[in-house]
Symmetry: C2
Subunit: 351 residues, 2 copies
């Protein structure tokens, strides 16, 4: 069995309280007893039982992180950043996967497992803003993302509209005027897709350009395969376009692949820009221009806010809203002006 405070106390010939004082750095201890206790601790290899401490203190030193799935690179990189941010503060992280399933997300928020963590960082996907009230939970909660804005909890998010507008403006600056968007979600009002498309529209309108519905392509899932499929569908319509704005990097990478397979050159014929700045986007061929929407800052802020809530005693501060900074990352896929001579760019617009 593991050694306990009691074992150490016996060996050091002091009371259990004194050992506890030493372990917890209580200052007023005679040096002689302190060293005796430390020797006993070393001799026995004593380690405090964190479960017992957790029971007594009502805090475990563990926070939960709930994301759709780690095999989506964005969430893997987010989880990485959250774990690092927590670790810097001596906290460990328990991870839950929701698969973006609404029922699972609901279960998770009320699961007895929450009893084992001091709070939760939650990136919902299945739940929407209409479910905000369901997040009135009895423990510290930080909500991430673009699905729920009105929950009675702290919220850390990115500047989706502004960032998407910046990406679109950059395409316009490269001389692109027929900018396709891939990954739209039917009937969505909040959510990453809706907000980013809002930014896209704003940038076009700002430039006095029409928003052509034929260029807004839907795709519920945001995997590589969907990016490729959606672009193939777009090519089949014959609608001309000279840029693709993938609503995330994965879509954009899939799009590049489909374009190349169809003999369309990136960026000579079609510029491509994504959103998220995944690690791999730097190494695609061509390298992908994208938006760094502040993932690391979001992770760090979320952990900080959560720990502040956990430490909170007495009256609770009202929910806080934080928006991380973003920046446009220019890489090869954004290209210069269109090459008007290439056959792809000479096709006629549809009737």
């Amino acid at each position: 069995m593991a050694t306990t405070l009691h074992d150490v106390a016996v060996l050091a010939k002091v009371s259990i309280k004194t050992v506890s004082n030493v372990v917890n750095g209580y200052p007023y201890i005679k040096d002689s007893t302190k060293t005796r206790v430390l020797e006993a601790i070393a001799a026995l290899g004593y380690q405090p039982n964190l479960t017992a401490r957790g029971l007594r203190l009502g805090r475990t030193g563990v926070i939960g992180l709930a994301v759709p799935e780690l095999r989506l690179s964005y969430f893997a990189e987010l989880a990485d950043a959250v774990i690092r941010a927590a670790d810097r503060r001596g906290i460990s992280v328990q991870i839950e996967q929701t698969n973006g399933d609404r029922d699972r997300e609901l279960d998770l928020v009320t699961s007895p497992r929450r009893q084992l963590t001091d709070g939760l960082i939650f990136s919902p996907l299945g739940l929407g803003n209409e479910d905000a009230a369901l997040l009135a939970v009895g423990y510290p909660l930080v909500v991430l993302g673009e699905r729920i804005f009105d929950a009675p909890a702290d919220h850390v998010t990115m500047r989706n509209v502004e960032a998407a507008a910046a990406a679109t403006r950059r395409l316009l600056a490269a001389g692109r005027t027929r900018i396709a968007v891939i990954g739209a979600h039917e009937g969505e009002v909040y959510g990453s897709a809706a907000l980013r498309i809002r930014g896209y529209r704003e940038a076009l309108q700002e430039a006095g350009l029409p928003v052509d519905p034929a260029l807004i392509r839907h795709s519920d899932m945001w995997h590589r395969a969907n990016g490729a499929t959606t672009v193939r569908g777009l090519l089949e319509t014959g609608v001309p376009f000279d840029a693709v704005f993938g609503l995330n990097d994965t879509l954009a990478l899939g799009a590049i692949r489909a374009l190349q397979a169809a003999g369309v050159r990136v960026p000579e014929d079609v510029s491509v820009v994504g959103f998220d700045n995944l690690d791999e986007s730097e190494y695609s061929h061509p390298s992908l221009s994208t938006i760094d929407a502040g993932r690391d800052e979001i992770a760090d802020t979320a952990v900080r806010l959560l720990l502040e809530r956990i430490a909170e005693t007495g009256p609770k501060a009202p929910p806080r809203r934080v928006e991380a900074d973003f920046r446009l990352i220019e890489r090869e896929s954004i290209g210069a002006a269109a090459d008007a001579d290439h056959p792809f760019n000479r096709q006629d617009p549809p009737a």
Copy 2:
């Protein structure tokens, strides 16, 4: 404050023990009292305090998973699979990142945090087989990977040698004879690199072909950038080659990129094959042929073995070794026979 067994007992007018019995499904309870208790539980929204239960039982229902970093796709996908496997069994997972740092790995194994988990699944990278004895820890431990084979703990790994040989044989079958390997590690005896290269050598020797040291290219890190850099270095040497075996998919994807950038066609001029079967390998351009080395099976087996150890009472069974099955996944990058007419394939071998 959260409600306790005691609160429920008062409301249901029974003893705390009876409530506990109901919660834990003890069979011999009068139906009338049982329903009364269940009603009280529902009325109060009672949830058992898992920390208290953990203290009492000596088990928390949480296992640890230690990997180098989640932003490496392989480990993200592994963590995903481990979490799913644990979840199927009602267990949650706490994740630690080591960055492959030896000291950090050592700290982690003896950290007080282990007190909060019932056992650990550990994928070492900084530690080597010479450190095996350091893994004689006092809690259930399952070691993953190719770094440590002789630890006094269960070990789940993949068939590196056989799988690498299979990949190499397939390249030979496609008519490739000058197969470069990228990602070798200087002086390594165990480890993914060494074992996979052993398989590569075996397949060549089996085919009666020489092993050309000039075709074995080193790279400590296995990121996309390294794959690209290594291949550029190889191209600069002027040594002819007609295939690249990336020791993992990320290297192989980086290699494809560098080849294409240099005007070398994949697979017409150079076949490429990777190792790991990452999700994204299916969507590269061209899609990447690779080895599925049994990641999901490894995750499930690791969780199963760990839980068996946790449940173990009395004498401990000796360490167990498990090797997952693998399979070769053939995609576009492997190609057919070399195109002898392309300029790249007509270059002269170096003196």
